[in-house]
Symmetry: C2
Subunit: 479 residues, 2 copies
C-alpha cells in the first residue's frame, strides 16, 4: 500500500476501498455507502440527534423536489446554487410544466412552509431538523468529501428576534464542535466565514474546520444566521405582542457525510484506517492464535468472552477463519478496528488474553475476569489518545509568523520541496475581496474563517497589501 507521505490522495482512495467503506456507482460523482461506511454515519447521527432533541429541536421531513421558481425568490441563493442543480423535467411519461430541482438544501421549501406555519409570536421559536439526501452536481468529486449526492442533516429555526436567532446559530456551532471533538476525536477550529465564503443568502456563516494529516482544511460543519433575508423572500411574518406584522429571524445549520472523510483523513496511518472507538462499526476483534484448533476450549472461551463484551454494549467481531494470524492482524488493522484480543493455548492456561490497541505498538496481558472493564478502559483511552494526537499534529502545523505573500509562497515551496505539509497560516487581511482572491490565485490557499475573538493573536498588517489588517484569518488549502 502507498504511504500517506508518498501520495496522500491516493492513500485516501486506497484506504477507503480496502477497508470496504464504499464503492463507486455507475452514475458520475455518486457513491455507495457500504455497511462499514454507513454504520459510521449511523453512530454520528445518533450522537447529533440526541443533542438536537435535548435542545428542543424536532425532526421533520420535507419533499425532495423543489419548483424552480422557489430558488429565484432569494437572489444570492439562486446565484449560489443554480450552477449545481439537477432537474427533473419529465415524470410519469409526461413533460412537466415546471422543472423540479433535486434539493441542494431545503432552505426554500422550508421557508415556504414556515410562511404558512408561523402566524403569531406563540408559534416561535420553531426549530426543526431533517436528515436527508441532497444533491450538488459537482465537477470534481471525492468519495465522502464531495459527491453529487450526499447525506446530511439540515436544521432550520425561526425566532422572534435577532438576538435569540444569533444565540441559536452559535449554540449549534458549539454542539457541532462538541460532537466532532468528543465522538469523532477530530479537533476543530471555530470562526466566522468571510463574506465571499458565506452560505448563499446568509448574513453570517460560522464554521468548524478540521486540519487533516496532509495539512489541508476540511469545512466540517456550518451554522448560518439569516437575519430576515429568507423571511423577506418567503414572507415569514408573525403578529407580535404589539399586534404588528413583523419578519421572523431565521437560522440554518448542517453537517454531512463528509465527516466520515474527515475522520479518515485525520486518523488513518500507513496500515490503513484508524477509527475512533465511538464510531467504529466493530470496536474489538477477537481472534484465536497459536495451535488453537487442537483445543476446542479456546474457541469456546473466545465466544464466551465475545458474549460478555456484547452484553456490555461493546461491538465485536470474532475472526475464526483459517487465515494466518499475520494475515488477520493486517486485515483488521486495515479496517481500523480499535482493539484486538488474541487468545491462544498459553492464554487459556494462564487465564489471560493479549490486548492490542490499533494506534500503539504496545501489547499487554489482561486477566480474563477483568476483560470487560479493561476493554472499556482501553477504548476510552484510545478515544482520548486519538484526539490528543490530532490536536498535537494540528499545533505543529499552524504558522503564525508569515507576514507577506512572498513569505507565504516561500513557505509553501520549502515545505513542498521537503515533502512536508504547508499547514495553516494565520494571516492579516485588509477585508477586501481583491486581497482574498489574490491569496488564492497566487498560493492556492483560501481563507478558512476568522477565528473568534481571543482565540489567536491578531495580525497587524494585511498579508497581501501590507495595509492595516481589518481581520485575522486562517488560510490554508482546503478540500
Amino acid at each position: 500500500m502507498i504511504t500517506r507521505q508518498e501520495d496522500f490522495s491516493k492513500w485516501y482512495l486506497d484506504t477507503i476501498q480496502q477497508a470496504d467503506l464504499m464503492d463507486y456507482s455507475p452514475v458520475r460523482g455518486s457513491m455507495i455507502f457500504k455497511p462499514d461506511g454507513y454504520e459510521m454515519w449511523e453512530h454520528i447521527q445518533t450522537a447529533f440527534d440526541k443533542r438536537f432533541k435535548e435542545e428542543g429541536v424536532r425532526n421533520a421531513y420535507f419533499p425532495m423536489l423543489i419548483p424552480e421558481h422557489f430558488f429565484a425568490k432569494e437572489a444570492d441563493h439562486i446565484e449560489g446554487f443554480s450552477p449545481e442543480l439537477p432537474f427533473v423535467t419529465e415524470a410519469g411519461g409526461e413533460k412537466l410544466e415546471e422543472k423540479l430541482a433535486l434539493r441542494p438544501t431545503s432552505e426554500t421549501m422550508i421557508g415556504d412552509a414556515y410562511s404558512r406555519w408561523i402566524q403569531s409570536y406563540r408559534d416561535l421559536p420553531l426549530m426543526l431538523n431533517q436528515w436527508a439526501n441532497v444533491f450538488r452536481w459537482e465537477k470534481r468529486t471525492l468519495p465522502f468529501l464531495r459527491t453529487s449526492e450526499f447525506l446530511w442533516q439540515e436544521g432550520h429555526t425561526a425566532h422572534a428576534d435577532a438576538e435569540e436567532a444569533k444565540e441559536r446559530t452559535m449554540r449549534m456551532l458549539e454542539i457541532y464542535k462538541e460532537v466532532v471533538e468528543d465522538v469523532l476525536a477530530v479537533p476543530v477550529f471555530s470562526g466566522e466565514k468571510t463574506p465571499s465564503e458565506r452560505f448563499a443568502g446568509a448574513e453570517n456563516t460560522y464554521s468548524i474546520e478540521a486540519m487533516v494529516q496532509d495539512g489541508r482544511a476540511i469545512q466540517a460543519g456550518t451554522s448560518h444566521f439569516m437575519g430576515t433575508r429568507f423571511a423577506e423572500a418567503f414572507d415569514i411574518t408573525y403578529l407580535n405582542q404589539d399586534n404588528e406584522h413583523v419578519y421572523a429571524y431565521t437560522t440554518s445549520w448542517g453537517v454531512s457525510t463528509r465527516l466520515i472523510g474527515t475522520l479518515i483523513m485525520m486518523h488513518g496511518d500507513d496500515q490503513g484506517l484508524i477509527i475512533p472507538p465511538a464510531v467504529a462499526p466493530r470496536q474489538v476483534v477477537l481472534m484465536p492464535v497459536g495451535p488453537w484448533k487442537k483445543n476446542p476450549e479456546i474457541l469456546e472461551k473466545l465466544k464466551e468472552l465475545q458474549h460478555q463484551l456484547h452484553e456490555a454494549g461493546i461491538r465485536t467481531v470474532l475472526d475464526d477463519s483459517d487465515q494466518s494470524p499475520g494475515f488477520k492482524f493486517n486485515e483488521w488493522e486495515m479496517r481500523g478496528v480499535p482493539l484486538r484480543i488474541e487468545f491462544g493455548p498459553r492464554d487459556l492456561e494462564n487465564g489471560t488474553v493479549v490486548l492490542k490497541a490499533r494506534d500503539v505498538e504496545d501489547k499487554h496481558f489482561v486477566e480474563i475476569d477483568q476483560l470487560v472493564s479493561a476493554v472499556e478502559e482501553e477504548l476510552n483511552a484510545m478515544q482520548a489518545r486519538l484526539f490528543e494526537r490530532a490536536k498535537k499534529m494540528n499545533e505543529q502545523h499552524v504558522y503564525t509568523n508569515i507576514d507577506t505573500l512572498d513569505e507565504l509562497k516561500e513557505h509553501i515551496e520549502e515545505k513542498r520541496a521537503a515533502g512536508e505539509r504547508a499547514g495553516w497560516v494565520l494571516a492579516g487581511w485588509d477585508g477586501t475581496e481583491e486581497s482574498e482572491a489574490k491569496i488564492q490565485e497566487e498560493t492556492g490557499f483560501t481563507t478558512r474563517h476568522i477565528p473568534f475573538e481571543g482565540m489567536v493573536e491578531p495580525k497587524e498588517k494585511c498579508i497581501v497589501t501590507g495595509k492595516p489588517a481589518k481581520y485575522t484569518v486562517w488560510i490554508a488549502r482546503a478540500y
Copy 2:
C-alpha cells in the same frame, strides 16, 4: 368535525391535518411530514431496525439516481415501473447523455452492486437494508398512503440456494407482522399475492394486509422471493464449493410510511387520532385543572411528576396554557395522546391524580407516589386494548359464506344501503386472470392475497365461474 360514518375519507384527511401530522407541498402528490407525523416514523424505524440488525442484516446507502438502461435489464421490472418514473434530464446547466430515474426501488442499483460484490460462496448470504426516500409518480394520491415521494426501508438479500432465500423471505414477513401487531397495534393477515399482484420481477410476493375501519384493505408490507431472475438480469453469480459459477437467489422486502396512514385509519375515532402508546410522540399529557393558578404548588408538583415520568423513559407534555380544561381535553384528544393526567387543588390535598386513557370513557384516581408504575401499566394496557379492539373489529367484518358474484354484489349493495362496511370476503378462485379481473370490474374488490395453509377454511368453488377453486383468496376494496 365530520364522523367516520359520514365520510371516512374526509374524516381521515381532516384528522391528519387537525392533529398536525402533515402539510401539503407545492409539488403535486408530495407531502411534508410534520414533527408529530415524522416522529411516529422514527419510532417505527427504531422497532424495525433493531430487529433487522438482530437478524444479521446491515444498513447501507445506495445512490438515488439510476441510469434508465438499468430498468430494461429485467423485462417485468421495467414494465411495472416505467409508467411511474420521474427522470432527471439536465444537471449543472447541461443536458445529460442518459436520463436518470429517481429510484422507485433500488432493486436494479443493488443488483448491479451485488454482481460486483458477490464472487464466491464465502460472500453469501449478503443481507443489506436501506432507509431511503423513493418516488412513484402516482396519479391519485392520499397523504401517507400514496404519495409521489415516500419514505421506506428496502431489504435486499442474496443467498447460495433457493431454500435459504425462501426462508429469509418468510422470516422477514414474520418480522413485519410482529412489529406491526406489537408496536402499531394493527392486526394483519398474511398470505401470498396472486401472480397479477406480484412485485415486478418477483417469483413470489407475500404480504401482510390490514383491514382498517371502513373495511378496506391496506397492503402494509411485502416480502419477495426473486428466485434467480434478478441474478440472471444483473449477472449475480458466485463460485460454489464445487468450483462452478452459479446464480445467487435473491429476496427483497419493504415497509413504508404508509404504515402511519394505516395506524391512523385503524385506531382513530370521531374525536380524532388515537395513537398506540408505543409510537406516540407524546404518551402522556399532564394538565392542571380547577382554580390551579391560585396555588403555585399545583404547577410545581405537576412539573415534578413530569420529571419522574421523563426519567422513566415516558414521553410527556405539560399543558399549562390559559385555555379552558374542555378546550385542552379536546385538543389533546384530537392529537391522539394516549393518557391524560389531571391535577387540581383537591388532588394536591388528597395526594392523587386523575388518569384518563384516550380510548375509554373511564377516569380513575391514582396515588401520586405510584404514578410512574400506574402510567406504565396503563400504557401497556391501552396498547393491548387497541390491538384487541382492532382484531375484534376485523373478525366482525370478514365474510366467508359468499359463493357467487351475484351474492357478492348483493352483499356490497346491502352494506352500502345500511351505511355499513362491506369488509373482506373469502372467495374461491379458479386461478385465472380472467376471473380475477372480473371480480374487480364488477365489484371494485381486488384479490388481497392467498392466506397461508391452515389459516382459513378453503372454498370449494370459484366465486366467478363456479368451477373448482384452485385457491382461496381474500378479496376486498383496497387503498
